[in-house]
C-alpha cells in the first residue's frame, strides 16, 4: 500500500505503470484521477488545497485499510496533493488491483467517496476577484450511505 500526501505533482502514467508492474494474480486494475476543473465562467486562477498534516495520512491509511478488508484486493494506492494548483493540474489519484473487475471498481469508488468527505482536505477557489472555500455537497455525504 502506498499513501502519499504531497505538494509536488505526480506522474499519472508513471504511477499507473509502477502500480501495475509485475502482478500476475490480479486481472483488474482501476485508477481514478482527479483534475482541477476550471469554473463555469472560465476564470479560475488557482485552486488552493489545505490539509491537516498528520491526520491526513492517518485518515487515508484507515480508508485504504477498510477497502482492503471489505474487498478481495491486491495493492492500493492513494496520492493527494496540497498547496496551489492550476486548472488542468492533477489533484489526486487512487488505484486498486483485484482478481475481479467488480472488486477493483467498487473499491476505487469507495476510496473516492470516503476520501471526499472523511479525509481532512479543504479546497479554495481563487479567481481575479474572489477566494471562496468550496462547500461540501450533500450528495458527497449521501454517497457514503451506499457502503
Amino acid at each position: 500500500m502506498k499513501i502519499s500526501v504531497q505538494k509536488e505533482p505526480f506522474d499519472l502514467g508513471a504511477e499507473a505503470n509502477a502500480f501495475a508492474a509485475g502482478d500476475t494474480s490480479n486481472g483488474a486494475i482501476v485508477t481514478f484521477t482527479g483534475v482541477v476543473r476550471d469554473l463555469v465562467q472560465g476564470d479560475l486562477d488557482m485552486m488552493e488545497i489545505e490539509h491537516y498534516p498528520g491526520m491526513t495520512e492517518k485518515a487515508l491509511t484507515k480508508i485504504a485499510n477498510e477497502a482492503q478488508e471489505r474487498w478481495s484486493l491486491g495493492d492500493v494506492l492513494v496520492i493527494h496533493r496540497h498547496g496551489r494548483l492550476a486548472p488542468g493540474d492533477q489533484i489526486m489519484m487512487v488505484a486498486t488491483a483485484a482478481p475481479h473487475r467488480k472488486d477493483a471498481f467498487e473499491a476505487a469508488e469507495y476510496l473516492m467517496d470516503y476520501l471526499k468527505s472523511r479525509a481532512p482536505f479543504w479546497k479554495k477557489e481563487i479567481t481575479g476577484e474572489s477566494a471562496d472555500w468550496v462547500a461540501a455537497k450533500d450528495e458527497d455525504e449521501d454517497a457514503l450511505t451506499r457502503w
Partner: protein, 81 residues
C-alpha cells in the same frame, strides 16, 4: 491542550493553532468557553452543524469527552478528492 483551526474556521479566528488551558470536560464545553472569549470565536462557532471536530487526529463529535485528549481540531466539512 493544542487547538487547531482549518479552512474558514482558521480564517475567521485568525490563527491556525493555539494553546488553551481549559477545564472543559467535553468538546461542547470547550466550544462554549471559546465562544465566550471574543466576537471572532462567537462568529466561527455560531453554527456547529457547519463544523467538524477531530480529537487527537480522529474525527469525533461535539458530545465527546476531552479526557486524555491533547489535540483538538475544528474545521468545516471536508472537500478533498
Amino acid at each position: 491542550m493544542d487547538i487547531l483551526y482549518f479552512a474558514w474556521v482558521r480564517e475567521r479566528i485568525g490563527l491556525p493553532k493555539e494553546k488553551v488551558e481549559t477545564s472543559a470536560e467535553t468538546v461542547s464545553q470547550l466550544v462554549d468557553e471559546l465562544r465566550a472569549r471574543e466576537e471572532r470565536y462567537e462568529v466561527a462557532f455560531s453554527d456547529l452543524s457547519a463544523l467538524r471536530v477531530a480529537l487527537d487526529q480522529e474525527l469525533s463529535d461535539f458530545d465527546a469527552s476531552l479526557a486524555g485528549v491533547r489535540e483538538v481540531a475544528f474545521f468545516p466539512p471536508m472537500t478533498g478528492g
